[in-house]
């Protein structure tokens, strides 16, 4: 599809490279963290000075046992968010409230196979979910006739790179990769909520609480004794677990104990029993509490940096 406002690919169309089977198939990494241990979130606010608020979030890559093949490093989640508080365009009808709109955009180089610029269903779904997560948090009546444009850019997604596409086992590999990407979307949503929340805090927009996102997954228990049961892990990396039974993402307000967005995939009650769903959601909420600490810490660092800068003068 050609777009007059962009430089288009060759008219014949191009296809992503296909890799021949490599000799050494990389072993999937295994989880070395405790079930309730989160990965260290790197969060920096104020990356776009001309925006009302902005933030950059990065999750560390999971340590790969074999160095990734075509590329020298394993991927990690990298997100940026900007919040612009601006008057609504003339075409918008009068509103006594702040209109929040969220745009999640994948960079073309964010995934193993290049993405185009046309907005796809995945981006739309994430945008709507982040918008839901924030809508109940922002005190909208403080800003009549205004719009808050939140833009989230996915610079890099977590799913593993081209080593997974292999001739011969193409279908199996493709399916595995798809499942991995399917579960990875949930971590991405939590990341999007967190980076957006950090940008909103940085912007100084009135909120009832600092919202944060968290993920938890139900996986087969990894105990040597082999009870054959299930366990709930916080902040899962799909690659580290061969099989994920169910996963939940929440956007959570700790001071009010409210959930503004909940997304569950898989059936936690089938394997985890009556309390399966509750356990999973509680675990996701506690992951969110951990993320909230990081968001507030980033804001504190920004303030301290600024106070020191003004005192230095």
């Amino acid at each position: 599809m050609s777009d007059r406002r962009r430089i288009n690919p060759p008219p014949g169309g191009t296809s992503a490279p296909v890799y021949a089977s490599s000799t050494a198939s990389p072993l999937p990494p295994t989880r070395t963290r405790r079930p309730d241990e989160l990965r260290k979130i790197f969060l920096k606010t104020h990356i776009t000075p001309s925006a009302t608020g902005s933030a950059y979030l990065e999750l560390p890559p999971s340590p790969s046992p074999t160095p990734s093949l075509s590329h020298s490093q394993s991927p990690s989640l990298k997100l940026t968010a900007t919040a612009h508080l601006a008057p609504l365009p003339r075409s918008a009808p009068f509103t006594p409230n702040l209109l929040v709109s969220v745009h999640v955009k994948f960079a073309p180089f964010a995934s193993p196979i290049r993405r185009g610029y046309i907005r796809d269903a995945g981006e739309r779904e994430l945008s709507v979910r982040v918008e839901n997560a924030l809508r109940g948090v922002i005190i909208a009546e403080r800003w009549p006739k205004m719009g808050l444009d939140l833009s989230i850019v996915v610079l890099e997604g977590e799913e593993e790179g081209p080593a997974a596409i292999q001739v011969g086992e193409k279908d199996a590999g493709g399916a595995a990769r798809k499942t991995e990407a399917w579960w990875a979307t949930m971590t991405m949503l939590a990341g999007c909520v967190n980076v957006a929340a950090a940008a909103v805090v940085d912007a100084g927009i009135d909120c009832v609480d600092a919202v944060a996102g968290g993920v938890a997954a139900m996986v087969p228990a990894n105990t040597a004794g082999g009870k054959g049961g299930v366990e709930v892990v916080l902040d899962p990396v799909p690659r580290e677990h061969g099989d994920i039974i169910a996963a939940a993402v929440v956007a959570y307000l700790p001071t009010r104990d409210e959930i503004t967005e909940l997304w569950v995939r898989g059936d936690p009650r089938a394997a985890g029993g009556e309390k399966g769903l509750e356990d999973l959601v509680d675990a996701a909420a506690s992951a969110a509490v951990g993320a909230r600490t990081v968001i507030l810490e980033a804001a504190r660092e920004e303030v301290q940096g600024r106070v020191e800068a003004t005192e230095g003068v």
Partner: protein, 213 residues
């Protein structure tokens, strides 16, 4: 500025029975909570401080102390015009009935002190209707004897207006044109309440001049 402790949105600051909820706070479950990340300020003796920053305004006289939060995270203060805000705006379009302006800077309260102004990252659309230009002899006011395109005016917000614009007024002595240029690019200086002139050319032009402050 360094006073107070850092608080997060949702954090309880006090009880509405003993304190008053000030800017950047809200009431939840009968408690005053912070709405932004910043420094909490329990103001014991409210004073009318004209040099206050846009977000840190003090309360009217009351025996209760006011608790407010000052945002310190953002370098760009989130700001929008509210009723009685004083604004600086550039005239962008004139008709016989109204002047369309682009609001470039806002001061939150009715204080003309330029130190409390904050720059808008995105300009707001404003409108000055013919009847809102002067306070007296409204029927004799002519648009082209009041403003020209390119002038910078000081005005007060009288209404949030409609979807297209905020409604502004210059019907006060301290409001009106503060900066203007002649056709040849020379800046004009005020010579009376209704005229400005070029320093070198001596050419006079009609304006609704703001009293210099």
């Amino acid at each position: 500025m360094a006073q107070g402790i850092l608080v997060a949105p949702g954090q309880v600051l006090g009880n509405p029975k003993t304190e008053k909820a000030g800017p950047n706070t809200h009431i939840q479950n009968g408690q005053i909570c912070a709405s932004v990340f910043g420094l909490a300020d329990h103001n014991q003796a409210p004073t009318q401080d004209t040099n206050s920053t846009p977000v840190k305004t003090t309360a009217k006289t009351t025996d209760r102390a006011t608790v407010s939060v000052t945002t310190t995270t953002s370098s760009i203060n989130p700001i929008s015009p509210t009723i009685n805000s004083i604004v600086l705006a550039r005239v962008t379009r004139l008709t016989l009935k109204q002047a369309t302006v682009s609001i470039l800077a806002i001061s939150p309260s009715d204080s003309a002190a330029s130190s409390s102004l904050a720059v808008c990252t995105t300009p707001f659309n404003g409108q000055i209707r013919l009847q809102d230009i002067r306070a007296t002899e409204k029927d004799k006011v002519k648009m082209l004897q009041s403003f020209r395109v390119g002038d910078i005016v000081r005005a007060i917000v009288i209404s949030l207006g409609d979807q297209a614009a905020y409604y502004l007024s210059t019907a006060r002595n301290d409001l009106g044109v503060v900066m203007a240029w002649a056709d040849d690019g020379e800046q004009l200086v005020p010579v009376s309440w209704k005229e400005m002139e070029g320093m070198t050319t001596g050419k006079r032009e009609d304006r609704k001049v703001a009293k210099p402050i």
